[in-house]
């Protein structure tokens, strides 16, 4: 299941990297590279050979870990990505941790209080979320909470924990019992995580609302109410569990928005992750770096959707994997 999709991903990244640019060797070497280097690249990646041969070398390069040379950082792309991945991972996980519970809660409230004031408010809040330029939201939050109020820092990840095990600063701080860095790291992640979570939160709210509305009309809900079960139990135990299934699909798809948003959010908050790396790569025309980020993000997105498929089976006993 995973492998054909990843092969599809490589076909597209290969097309972008080798077919679209007027002179791929020049693009890969960088605009300022001397002609010898460009020739070297042309030799190394077999750019004078037919396309299917180039594709073969491209794939074998990816598998062997040769993802190209990042001339803005003067080291291989894969090394850079390994360094920057944990920061992006930590940020997206926290954004998800905000977006999913809050989004589901707002969606439930919206559905239960349909066409009343809480519903209108949460719909407007959700529509604003999908319409908000994420980079602009980040800037506004910086202006209010950093420039004017001075409550939160505006850039970076905070103090590096005394020991690094995973590269996730908050987890590492806890593991190394370094409470000073823990406080600083939580302080630093709040604004970017909130910024990044808003769009996803909005999508979750809308989906939960509409699927809750569908479920609440069904007979078994009427039965549960007729039995005299308290509202809370009917809503959260009976209705929500079924309403969550479509919401989960959307959560998987919304992960794409989260990865795209990470590029913009990291740029705004100088968050040292893959997104900011991509931004720097764009401004220095570091093409191999851009392609590396693109490929890795697509793979992460594919894996995220695989996880969603597995969670289906857990949430809905009617769905069995592998059948």
């Amino acid at each position: 299941m995973l492998i054909p999709v990843v092969i599809g991903v490589t076909l597209i990244t290969f097309t972008i990297a080798y077919v679209i640019p007027a002179d791929p060797a020049r693009a890969w070497a960088g605009q300022k590279a001397p002609p010898e280097v460009v020739e070297q690249i042309r030799e190394k990646y077999h750019l004078n050979d037919p396309l299917y041969v180039q594709y073969y070398y491209y794939i074998s390069g990816l598998v062997r870990g040769d993802w190209g040379y990042s001339h803005s950082e003067h080291r291989p792309v894969l090394d850079c990505l390994m360094d920057y991945f944990p920061a992006t991972f930590e940020l997206t996980i926290w954004a998800m941790a905000i977006a999913i519970p809050v989004g589901i809660y707002l969606g439930v409230v919206s559905a239960v209080k349909r066409n009343k004031i809480p519903d209108h408010l949460s719909r407007i809040f959700a529509l604003s979320g999908v319409s908000m330029p994420i980079f602009w939201l980040g800037l506004l939050l910086i202006l209010i909470f950093y420039t004017y109020l001075g409550w939160f820092p505006a850039s970076g990840r905070g103090i590096t924990p005394s020991h690094t095990y995973t590269g996730l600063y908050i987890l590492d701080s806890i593991l190394s019992l370094d409470f000073q860095s823990l406080a600083s790291d939580i302080w630093h992640i709040i604004l970017p995580a909130v910024t990044l979570s808003y769009a996803t939160l909005a999508v979750m709210t809308r989906m939960t609302r509409s699927s809750m509305l569908e479920v609440l009309r069904l007979d078994y809900i009427k039965t549960a109410r007729a039995k005299g079960l308290p509202d809370k139990i009917v809503i959260y135990r009976h209705a929500l569990r079924n309403a969550l299934i479509p919401t989960l699909t959307v959560a998987g798809l919304a992960f794409a928005g989260l990865l795209g948003g990470a590029v913009l959010t990291e740029t705004i908050f100088s968050w040292p992750g893959m997104g900011r790396y991509a931004y720097h790569a764009i401004s220095t025309l570091d093409f191999p770096a851009i392609m590396g980020v693109t490929f890795l993000m697509a793979v992460i997105f594919v894996i995220a959707n695989l996880i969603v498929d597995i969670m289906y089976a857990y949430l809905d006993p009617r769905i069995k994997l592998g059948e």
Binding site: S128, P133, F135, L143, T147, G260, I268, I282, A298, F301
Partner: protein
């Protein structure tokens, strides 16, 4: 003579006119949809009358948009003279935001129209004939869906080289698979109807069936999608411009304006980024409000 022609028109399209009037009635009854529609009309008027509304105007040197600098007027906060303030070259931000409306709508419409056209042609053909062509096309679409949209557009634009035209190409490449899939799904369900079978039985050609019967009947959900996508395309284009892949600096492009004003925001010179960003937000919100309402209104299950 003319009277009979208009009478013919009235009776021939009587049911369509009735449906259209009913749609208008439903829009009037939904406050959020109406709000979206009013905002959209306002935005279109701003785009059309930009030369009359703006204070300063761009000049074109060799096709390149240029705004005259005024170094006595740098970083003016919002005032009556400069409603949205000025930037570090003394450009009037209000005028640039006004002209930016034209560019945003232009990008949105061209990208969505082209993506829709590709989607309708490929999707209708593929859904109608099925077979290996359909199978291959759907797998190609799946490949595109494996990428986060902004990331894919970013990579394509980087490969083509920065610039507004290349951003538009990239967005078209990112957006066509979604339309192809929606149209195909619609065609598959429309195809089951008896009137299609009847048309085939009386010997109507395949092309004519697709063009005259299948496509018109699958249009409503595509139009809803297109309305929402106009907003999404504008939002993504702004994101690419923010990353430095779109229009050149100091042109009337909302994304690049937010990007240029960014470092000054922290220093408290908030107006340079705030107003263009607000323009993006309001425009995208208007399309989403209207599209969201339109979906409920055009949905035959909820319509009556």
């Amino acid at each position: 003579m003319e009277e009979t022609a208009s009478q013919n028109f009235g009776s021939k399209y009587e049911s369509q006119i009735k449906e259209f009037k009913y749609t208008l009635h439903l829009i009037r009854k939904s406050p959020l949809t109406l709000a979206g529609l009013i905002l959209l009309i306002f935005i279109f008027l701003v785009a059309i009358f930009a030369p009359y509304l703006a204070i300063e105007h761009p000049i074109y040197i060799g096709g390149q948009q240029t705004w005259l600098s005024d170094f006595n007027q740098t970083f003016q906060p919002p005032s009556w003279k400069h409603p949205f303030g000025t930037d570090d070259m003394g450009h009037d931000i209000y005028s640039m935001v006004i002209y930016g409306t034209r560019e945003a709508l232009y990008v949105g419409f061209i990208v969505v129209l082209v993506a829709m056209l590709i989607g309708v042609l490929l999707g209708a053909y593929s859904g109608y004939i099925g077979g290996w062509f359909d199978e291959v096309l759907m797998r190609i679409c799946d490949m595109f869906f494996a990428f986060p949209g902004l990331i894919l557009a970013m990579a394509i634009t980087a490969a083509l080289g920065p610039g507004l035209l290349h951003v538009m190409y990239a967005l078209m490449i990112v957006w066509w698979p979604a339309y192809t899939r929606i149209v195909r799904g619609q065609v598959l369900s429309v195809k089951q109807n008896q009137y299609i079978e009847a048309a085939r039985a009386v010997g109507v050609s395949r092309f004519k069936i697709i063009w005259k019967h299948v496509i018109p009947n699958s249009l409503p959900p595509i139009l809803v999608q297109a309305t929402m996508d106009l907003g999404n395309v504008i939002l993504t284009a702004a994101g690419l411009a923010f990353l430095g892949l779109g229009a050149a600096a100091y042109t009337a492009d909302w994304g690049i304006m937010v990007s240029q004003g960014r470092s000054w925001m922290i220093a408290g010179k908030w107006w340079w980024s705030t107003f263009p960003g607000l323009a993006i937000f309001v425009t995208v919100l208007a399309f989403n409000l209207f599209g969201d309402g339109l979906r409920d209104i055009l949905d035959p299950r909820l319509r009556r």
